[in-house]
């Protein structure tokens, strides 16, 4: 049984039929990427998994259990956390407070400290800036904080929505490398990206989303070799 199974999901915004019956599966330990053009429905998919949007039809199963009845905070409690598009850090809170909010539901003090150290190991910059108000961090630092904050929930499944958006090429490389490390340490990842090239480099499998439907699915190698994918998303 897959860790996450999205089955025939339909999501509407008013009359707009944003997701037209998509199915996605993520096995424990994988990095799976969801690629597609602007407006394809990638963020919508993640928000439906996180419980921010209610599907009109279809199911989201986590370890075989339907998540439909759970509000967003309880889905986090079940080990699924989303690092949303545009970072959405708490700009008026300090870096430390942001990280603490990631650990909000947890009471295991010692393990929280451990995870904090793990986040600092991934992003040493954050340790230097613990007392800084998060809104004054640079864009790249904010992205690090957003991922770090998500990791503080100690997720089994990490949903990342365009973590490379707006970052300089060097930082993009670094963020993808970090994602690979997080995965290697045991966290399953569903990665939404515009940067299909990089995403397919680190992913095991991928799905191509087109106007609310899955157009293609396969291993990362298969997708990288696919003519259509090359033309539409990999620039040749």
């Amino acid at each position: 049984m897959a860790l996450l199974e999205v089955q025939d999901l339909h999501v509407y915004y008013g009359h707009i039929h944003a997701l037209k019956g998509i199915s996605v599966a993520v096995e424990a330990g994988e990095i799976v990427t969801l690629i597609g053009a602007n407006g394809a429905g990638k963020s919508t998919t993640l928000n439906a998994i996180s419980g921010l949007l209610r599907p009109r039809q279809g199911r989201v199963l986590l370890g075989g259990q339907d998540l439909a009845a759970y509000p967003p905070h309880e889905i986090v409690g079940r080990g699924v956390v989303q690092v949303p598009e545009g970072r959405r850090i708490f700009g008026r809170l300090t870096v430390r407070e942001n990280l603490e909010m990631g650990a909000f539901r947890r009471t295991d003090r010692a393990a929280i400290e451990e995870d904090l150290e793990r986040v600092f190991a991934l992003f040493p910059r954050l340790r230097e800036r613990l007392q800084q108000v998060a809104g004054t961090l640079s864009g790249g630092e904010q992205q690090m904080l957003a991922i770090g904050r998500g990791l503080m929930t100690r997720p089994t499944l990490l949903l990342l929505d365009e973590p490379s958006m707006g970052l300089a090429p060097v930082l993009v490389e670094q963020i993808f490398e970090t994602i690979r490390q997080i995965n290697a340490a045991g966290t399953t990842i569903l990665l939404v990206e515009q940067n299909a090239f990089m995403a397919l480099e680190i992913a095991h499998r991928g799905y191509v989303l087109q106007t609310g439907e899955i157009a293609l699915a396969g291993t990362a190698r298969e997708l990288q070799a696919n003519e259509e994918v090359r033309r539409a998303y990999l620039g040749g």
Binding site: L52, P72, V81, R88, F90, F104, T136, G150
Partner: protein, 323 residues
């Protein structure tokens, strides 16, 4: 002009200003916290405040009728009425949010505002109804507790009633505790996180609905405490008593920078001080041309001036966020 008179009354004017200022500050907190979290003006907050005042009055009146008013030390008595008023107002505020605001989450901003105005009227008349049935009167006067009216010297031949000092000390204490709570605790931080971005807070595992309830709980408790202290200080209350202090406390919240906790305190103190100074000195300084009844005009003129130069309030958002 009688300078000696001016100087002689100054210390007690300051104390009166502080008393009023702290009462405004405590009420203002309820407005500002709810605004900070929901961007909504809770018009029913003035009635949450009045409910606290009625709870205090009822406890004292019932004890007086039972002849037990003298059984407790006056300080314990004050603690009891303030704590019970806090509890009742807090529960009421949480219930109001659940019943009248939460179902409207996601509706355009004006809708919950109208609901709040409705709740405000409803509570005024509900208090009136209950008191009329129970006491056949809805104007209540706090029983005299002599201890509260004793005057103690604070310096030289200047003396002020104990109750004024108690109001200042009690509210100062509560404001300090609240500030520490909001800024230093995990729950306080979560409230600030929800205030900033509800969806993101939910995505981090924070129960947003519960944090909103907690916000109303705290605002309601502060309002209830302010109500009981107001009653002890000023004596007579009725179901409509909340309106003017409510408007002024709301103004104080805006003056300090709405949504900002320290701002509400500063705003409350500034407004209370201005109002009291105007009431005491305007007549003296203008040779009787403007009497104490012009105090609000003076206070609000200063307010408009301040807001013209600092439209976000005295302590309003200074830090700009990067997008």
């Amino acid at each position: 002009m009688e300078w000696d008179v001016l100087i002689a009354i100054f210390p007690s004017v300051v104390v009166d200003g502080l008393v009023l200022g702290f009462v405004y500050a405590m009420i203002a907190l309820g407005y500002t916290m709810v605004y900070g979290v929901l961007q909504m003006i809770n018009f029913a907050h003035s009635e949450i405040f009045v409910t606290g005042a009625f709870v205090g009055a009822e406890i004292l009146l019932i004890m007086q009728a039972g002849g037990t008013l003298g059984a407790l030390h006056p300080l314990a008595l004050l603690a009891v009425i303030v704590l019970v008023a806090m509890l009742v107002s807090a529960v009421l505020a949480v219930a109001v949010e659940r019943i009248a605001y939460r179902p409207l989450r996601g509706a355009p901003r004006l809708i919950p505002l109208i609901s709040a105005i409705g709740v405000s009227f409803f509570l005024q008349d509900a208090i009136r109804l209950v008191e009329s049935l129970w006491r056949n009167a809805f104007y209540l006067t706090y029983p005299v507790v002599e201890f509260f009216d004793l005057r103690i010297a604070i310096a030289g031949d200047i003396d002020v009633p104990i109750k004024s000092i108690l109001v200042v000390v009690a509210s100062l204490l509560m404001l300090v505790v609240l500030t520490l709570f909001v800024n230093r605790t995990r729950l306080g931080t979560a409230i600030r996180a929800v205030a900033e971005d509800q969806a993101a807070a939910g995505l981090m595992g924070i129960n947003v609905g519960r944090m909103i309830s907690l916000t109303f709980l705290i605002g309601g408790a502060m309002g209830g405490a302010a109500g009981a202290l107001f009653g002890v200080q000023f004596g007579t209350i009725n179901p409509y008593t909340g309106f003017i202090p409510g408007i002024k406390a709301f103004t104080a919240a805006v003056l300090g920078g709405i949504g900002n906790v320290p701002g509400a305190m500063v705003g409350g103190l500034v407004l209370g001080m201005l109002e009291t100074l105007a009431a005491s000195y305007m007549s003296l300084l203008t040779g009787g041309a403007f009497g104490a009844e012009y105090k609000d005009i003076f206070a609000f003129s200063v307010l408009i001036l301040i807001l013209m130069f600092r439209p976000r309030g005295l302590l309003g958002e200074v830090v700009r966020e990067k997008l």
